[in-house]
Amino acid sequence: MERELLFDSATWLVWLAPVLGVLAAGLTKRRDPEVVGDKVLRHDSAAIIEHWTHGIGTAVLLVTGIALGVWFLPSLVGSGEPVRTMMDVHFAAVVVFLFGTFYYGANTLLAMKRFREHLPTKDAIDFTKRHYGLLLGFKKFTFPPEKKYFESEKMAYLLALGATSVIILTGLVKVAAHVIDLPAGLLAVATPAHDIATVAMLAFFLAHVFFAAVLPMSWPVLVSMFTGYVSLEHAKHEHKGWLEELGYEDKEDESQAVADESAA
């Protein structure tokens, strides 16, 4: 007797993960960003859990999903047992991804300001072009004081939000097909939609990893995804607008201004 796929024998875990994420958010006490000595709290523990469960889940889902064959790309793992093993790994990643995403979603519903600070402003497109141009060295531009997230990050957030929503909706349809008899037409739409959203997510993921982990200037923020803190120096340099929102007053700036006035 062949072993069952986890998608069949443990389907309930796929339904449990989202509600567990919502429950965990309800029981979580969040901590708002604040200046602590020479550090600034950028991500509290909940944000770190949200980020890594969603991120690691996404990474494993992308690897296993692509290995199983995406859209017009053939399966890389051939057939039979390797396919079933890859599906079981995909299943484990689905559970982690759903928990992380619903934990984030519920946390966001509890404090909509965390959602709003991710939304682009009217300058988003122009700033995004300039931001990446600056990073890649072919544009020169002095940005106005940046908030917690750059406009370019806010644009990427919209892509991730859209791709994640489509992946979850169509993915749940695909999982439901293991439990109930769904119309073939629905699956004929859900499967390619899932695959196209996967390609969008891959584009976002690669860009995110490059600009948030590979590029040296992003390393201080990468460290904060483990420790929660960025240095005050970094925040002053990159996110002055955010520090102002946190009520921080730069005494060095003030004393410099006083010195300038007296000199004048």
Partner: protein, 238 residues
């Protein structure tokens, strides 16, 4: 900042947004765990009830010349190309065997208790509601190939379609997009229609569930009087 959050969380019903979400999460966790527990305790094992197919392919391997016309016709009518790898009926030849055991016709038996249907996790492999023919809903196939392995016969009567990435099997020509004839139990079957040796035929009666039940004598009566090896009986099972 904290006040704003509190304000956002409060609602007119008296419950805060946090209380509401915690409640939804708690009820959800309870419902999923409770449902899983109840399912495992209360519900009986799943019973597989599948209607019988309205038709069966019967063959006489002694009449088969191994020309593979049936395979090419099968691939052509289903996929529009003459490709042995896409055929759902398979001719296998044993160069060391002697007549009548040198050629086998490996056709799907439309089993009364189909292991392939039982093994499919998504219902892609199913019995057609109208004809009972065991067939694959390609849109539902997830490519796990459990059906291919579940078929009790060798070679498996369910194949992996390497081009379109899904399982495939004989559907008695119920769905032949590249053929203008009506297929299925009430129509014609491409392999049967094209076989120049008359080695394939069709029956709407459930054959005996033995090798001999599907490998029948399709020769004219005179053949049995000619004294060839293998005359008067049918070839070995497959």
């Amino acid at each position: 900042m904290a006040d704003i959050e509190k304000k956002e969380e409060s609602s007119q019903s008296g419950y805060s947004r946090r209380q509401f979400l915690t409640g939804v999460g708690g009820i959800g966790v309870g419902a999923v765990l409770g449902g899983a527990l109840l399912k495992s305790i209360l519900l009986p094992e799943e019973v597989l009830a599948i209607p019988a197919s309205e038709g069966y392919l019967l063959v006489d391997t002694r009449k088969c010349s191994g020309c593979t016309s049936c395979m090419l016709a099968c691939a052509l009518t289903h996929y529009g190309e003459t490709n042995h790898s896409l055929a759902r009926i398979q001719i296998t030849q044993n160069p060391f065997g002697s007549f009548p055991n040198d050629i086998n016709i490996d056709q799907c038996r439309q089993c009364p208790y189909p292991s392939c249907v039982d093994a499919c996790p998504t219902g892609a492999m199913h019995a057609d509601a109208k004809t009972g023919v065991r067939t694959v809903d390609e849109a539902k196939c997830i490519g796990c190939e459990r059906c291919v392995n579940a078929c009790p016969f060798t070679p498996s009567r369910v194949q992996w379609n390497p081009q379109e990435k899904h399982a495939q099997k004989c559907d008695l020509c119920v769905d032949t997009p590249f053929w203008d004839k009506e297929g299925g139990p009430d129509g014609v079957r491409a392999c049967e229609a094209v076989c120049p040796m008359g080695a394939i035929t069709f029956s709407s009666e459930i054959p005996m569930q033995t090798d001999g039940g599907y490998n029948v004598d399709l020769h004219e009566p005179i053949f049995d009087t000619l004294g060839f090896t293998g005359a008067g009986g049918v070839a070995g099972g497959h």
